[in-house]
Amino acid sequence: MNITFTKTFASVVCIGGMVTATAAFSATDFVQGQMLSAAERSALKPQGTVTIGKHPLTIVKASTADSLDTVVVNSVGAVGISKNVLLISNVPTSKVKTVLQSMAVGSVSTTYYDHMDISRLRFASLQAAVSARDSLSPVLPQATFDVPVQYSVPTAK
């Protein structure tokens, strides 16, 4: 994100406090929220594709042992980040636990938020998270599945 205020001004006048918006991820080639031009998009070297919602996403940087972030570009050229997480909500966590006992989905960690009816599964890759969503959705038809992708970072207002 381009910053038009200086850092000093941004910190005093809060509405210019967008210095935190520069929170870049570890990849050096892309910045979260960046819009790629048509030329930049055509020069991408895809490492796979997934579909979340109606958006086909091109994976341009897979997660690694050093960075859990998967960098994607959506159909309009916006750069987003996934942390390879699958959220299962609107069913009790006990039900998810039961299903996962009989069905290996390959998550590297699972957190159950019993009081919110949310189960959070993290995977080694975005493809694995999407694959798990596709496997689990028929088994948990009442559940809501989300694979979060962030195209912008929170900034101070």
Partner: protein, 635 residues
């Protein structure tokens, strides 16, 4: 000083719990006088105060920087003498609440921001160390959210506005006895939103989350499309607070005039229109969010405060405050609060060059700074970031007065007691006419009609009273928060609203694609919802979702309710002008119809501008393939 409302004072005393300690007098001179006047004729005067100690039932006048706290008491503030920047009467109307001894005791407020100086002299006493986290670290052994970056004073300022302690030093918050938790979230590399929004042990006991941050998307983001962790967590907030729902107050945004790094077009004779609408940060489409705009010391919308049909309420955020001793010259004052401790940290460490000198209070080493702020522990802040904690503080007072309130009750009380300020702003700002959609010139037509096929349209309807009798404005939501009125209503509140939140699936407005006729008001669809046997039949929120190949930055979307109320969900020439030609599940919303019947025929309009056949580097798209709606019922 604002006059004490005798009826309010009597009501509050009547509501005081038994066994309270008698107040020892003192405190604010005017309040003592006013209170005495109530009981001069009473045969059995009993003045009780729920607090003990030297600050019991005293106003913020006990604090040295009180004179700068125009948001607490405008009439007594230093700024009241400067009519160019202050009207001397716009404040949060909280002093009568403080004089009752209602100061937020027993309420836990979680500040999600860039951290908080937990050892600050005016905050430490209120900090609950079990409610801390720092998302800059993967290891939660690092829980302390005290910033190490000298610029990261934002959350510390927010915290002070909410719950700066009343202790005879520095400033006082709106709820000075509330408990504070905090997480360093903005810029954090290891953010887990579920943890932050009530999922973790450190967050799940919060009563209120104060969130002075937002997202500035470069392109329209999908809404409710399976890729948001915000929505997943926010929709579970009603589960918290023992099923009464955690209260989430969030900054509407500062993108009225500009979005950082991006120019906004404005609209010819109308400069500016809101560059970004609040709903462009899709979290604001969640009905649990209390979206908060900002008002300045003159009692009108702050210059930067984003407008939008999902704004619920306004707080006090001030202006830029750059000039003079304390910001009294120029655009107007900011909100005084706690800063990172010390003269080498935070906003008050001293700035001299960019883009203009700061006021003398903020300039470390200057005469005013040395006199009033010698340790540089205090500063000033503006923005909807500052307005949000003013509302969070009021909510803390409400919950302290009545812990049984559900999240819906809190919203409702804020709405019902809000002040309808600046009633004629559309006239003052020359927004009360239709604009030509090709030339962008103002016309002389001041009618409020919305006619399919017209080439002119209103871009702002100002305050509109809907068919339920509620006045709403995209600038102010339901109005400026009123602490005294909100607390009084909270005290007398006995019939509690259902906290559960049920969201139906989106439904289609159209069955065939719609070709856009740029430069026109165009009815693009209508829908007639089936009556639901389970709902109240009245609307809480309307949501709209759009997909297709159109130049959305050149289009606005309006909705007309069956009762005839028109709401502007977005305006043309918005932040997405020339950047996006492809729209996938773009979400918009409105509270303008709140309380109206849901049944009947709703109409959806596109209001687009002409004059540019391209959208960015592509030919302008012309087809909306899907228009969807969701009506959320009131309870």
């Amino acid at each position: 000083m604002r006059k004490i409302n005798l009826a309010k004072a009597i009501g509050a005393i009547g509501a005081a719990v038994a066994g309270l300690t008698a107040c020892g007098g003192g405190g604010d001179a005017n309040s003592t006088s006013a209170t005495s006047s109530i009981f001069d004729s009473s045969p059995t005067p009993v003045v009780v105060c729920p607090e003990t100690g030297p600050y019991a039932c005293k106003s913020g006048a006990t604090e040295p920087l009180y004179k700068l706290a125009w948001h607490l008491n405008a009439a007594k503030s230093f700024f009241a003498a400067f009519s160019e920047t202050s009207d001397g009467k716009t404040d949060i109307n909280v002093e009568s609440v403080h004089l009752q001894g209602i100061k937020g005791a027993g309420v836990k407020v979680l500040v999600l921001d860039d951290g908080m100086d937990i050892a600050h002299e005016d905050l430490a006493v209120n900090v609950d160390k079990t409610m801390l986290a720092n998302f800059n670290f993967a290891d939660f052994a690092h829980r302390d959210p005290t910033p190490t970056d000298v610029d990261a004073a934002h959350g510390t300022n927010v915290a002070g506005i909410i719950a700066g302690a009343q202790n005879g030093i520095g400033v006082m918050g709106i709820a000075p006895r509330a408990t504070l938790g905090a997480a360093a979230l903005i810029g954090g590399k290891y953010v887990n939103i579920i943890d932050a929004y009530g999922g973790a042990d450190w967050s799940k006991n919060a009563d209120i989350i104060s969130a002075s941050y937002g997202h500035d998307a470069k392109t329209p983001e999908q809404f409710d499309a399976g890729e948001s962790d915000d929505a997943v967590a926010l929709r579970k907030l009603p589960n918290l607070r023992g099923g009464k729902g955690l209260i989430f107050v969030k900054a509407a945004g500062n993108e009225f005039e500009q979005v950082v790094g991006k120019a906004c077009l404005g609209f010819g004779d109308l400069q500016p229109i809101s560059c970004q609408t609040t709903a462009d940060d899709t979290a604001h489409l969640e009905p649990v969010i209390i979206s908060t705009g900002a008002v300045n010391a003159k009692g009108i919308k702050a210059s930067y405060s984003s407008a939008g049909a999902v704004n619920w309420i306004s707080g006090l955020g001030g202006e830029y405050g750059r000039e003079g001793q304390y910001g009294e010259i120029g655009s107007g004052p900011m909100i005084v609060s706690t800063d990172l401790s010390g003269c080498t940290n935070g906003y008050s460490r001293g700035y001299s060059a960019v883009p203009s000198p700061q006021n003398q209070f903020l300039t470390a080493g200057g005469a005013t700074n040395v006199k009033d702020n010698p340790k540089c522990n205090y500063s000033q802040m503006n923005g909807t970031s500052a307005a949000t904690p003013t509302v969070s503080g009021v909510v803390a007072l409400m919950l302290s007065a009545n812990p049984k309130l559900t999240w819906r009750d809190v919203r409702e009380i804020l709405r019902a007691t809000a002040r309808h300020i600046d009633p004629t702003y559309v006239q003052r700002e020359s927004r009360n006419v239709k604009f030509d959609l090709t030339t962008a010139k103002a016309t002389t037509d001041s009618s409020s009609t919305l006619v399919d096929g017209d080439t002119t349209a209103r871009l702002d309807f100002g305050w509109v009273k809907n068919a339920a009798g509620y006045s709403f404005s995209n600038w102010y939501g339901f109005g400026l928060v009123d602490a005294a009125a909100a607390v009084k209503m909270a005290q007398s509140y006995t019939v509690y609203k259902d906290a559960t939140l049920t969201l139906d699936a989106f439904k289609a407005v159209n069955t065939t694609p719609v070709a856009i006729n740029y430069g026109h008001v165009q009815k693009i669809g209508s829908f007639t919802p089936a009556a639901s046997a389970t709902s109240s039949g009245k609307i809480d929120m309307l949501q709209l979702r759009l997909s297709g190949d159109v130049c959305v930055g050149r289009m606005g979307f309006y909705v007309k309710s069956p009762a005839g109320t028109v709401s502007v969900l977005s305006t043309p020439n918005n932040v997405y002008a020339d950047t996006s030609n492809q729209l996938t599940k773009y979400g918009l919303g409105s509270f303008a119809f709140y309380g109206e019947p849901m049944t009947g025929t709703w109409e959806v309009y596109a209001v687009s501008v002409d004059g540019n056949a391209h959208c960015g580097d592509k030919p302008r798209g012309t087809t909306l393939s899907n228009i969807e709606y969701r009506l959320i019922a009131a309870k």
